[in-house]
Amino acid sequence: MIAELSLRPAFAPGTCHSTRSMSPDVLRRYNEWCQLTPPLSHQEAEAAAALKAACAEAATDNWDGYGAEVVTYGVKLRAQEFLDALPAGVPLPTIAADPDGEVDFEWYVGPRQVFSVSVGGRYEVAYAGIFGANTTHGTEFFMDELPATVMENLRRLYSGHGVAG
């Protein structure tokens, strides 16, 4: 189940995957699998494209000119798993690379209404938020289920702004 979840976006129909190097048997199984998998929603496709762009921008060492670290394939997979774990109804975050090679998901409502989560290669996420005069930060274990603290902070950010909850 976990493997299926992590593979779904990477092999989703509509994304660019070369089938030229696949053997006939693998190609048949791939096509069967594509039939079983629902197509990405518009938001999922948009998020996947944003993650792909963020990783591409940080694909080489020192991509910011200040010694920033590359976003590895492993981090990209973890970031995709984080995206997959977001429930429907959560607004699409801004996705970009951090200088330390992690992927940052940022939800911005206003200068003092912002919440941000960084996903690295480990089974944890670091988060921080400003909610008016209040602030929060911390680290949470993340395997394949969105940490409750992250969801609670998203609710806090968007309370009154239309997030289902």
Binding site: G65, A97, A128
Partner: protein, 135 residues
């Protein structure tokens, strides 16, 4: 007190600092600097320039010469400007080194990533974005 490039002067709270930004470090739609622009690099510091008494053109010139023109440098597409006191309020410190001229570093970042992110969010909330003309 006029700024002197030929000597190190302590950073005053009302002094303006500019963080020179890469394309993924600001949001054009919301006209804001992202917290990512302030997160420390591999050396554990955030690079800024002391920009009081400089015109925008002079700031871009400084950026071209010392950031984009440095080995492995990248084009500077915008600045996030904030008061030095915002750095202090975030529990950080500005360490002027004048290398290159007008350069300083935001230091004393905590080891915990979540804590670093929060402080960077505070700096971003205090910063004003200027996008380079023509971009």
């Amino acid at each position: 007190m006029a700024w002197r490039a030929d000597r190190l002067e302590p950073v005053t709270p009302d002094e303006h600092l500019a963080c020179l930004t890469h394309t993924n470090q600001f949001r054009r739609v919301e006209v804001r600097v992202s917290a990512r622009a302030f997160l420390p690099g591999r050396d554990g510091t955030t690079s800024v320039f002391r920009v009081d008494d400089l015109t925008n053109d002079q700031i871009w010139q400084l950026a071209d010469e010392h950031v984009a023109g440095a080995p492995d440098g990248r084009p500077v597409v915008g600045t996030g400007t904030l008061l030095a006191e915002s750095v202090t309020e975030a529990g950080l410190r500005v360490d002027p080194d004048n290398d290159p001229p007008r350069h300083a570093a935001i230091v004393d970042w905590p080891a915990d990533k979540g804590d670093r992110k929060l402080r960077a969010l505070k700096l971003a909330a205090a910063a004003r974005l200027t996008i380079r003309p023509g971009l």
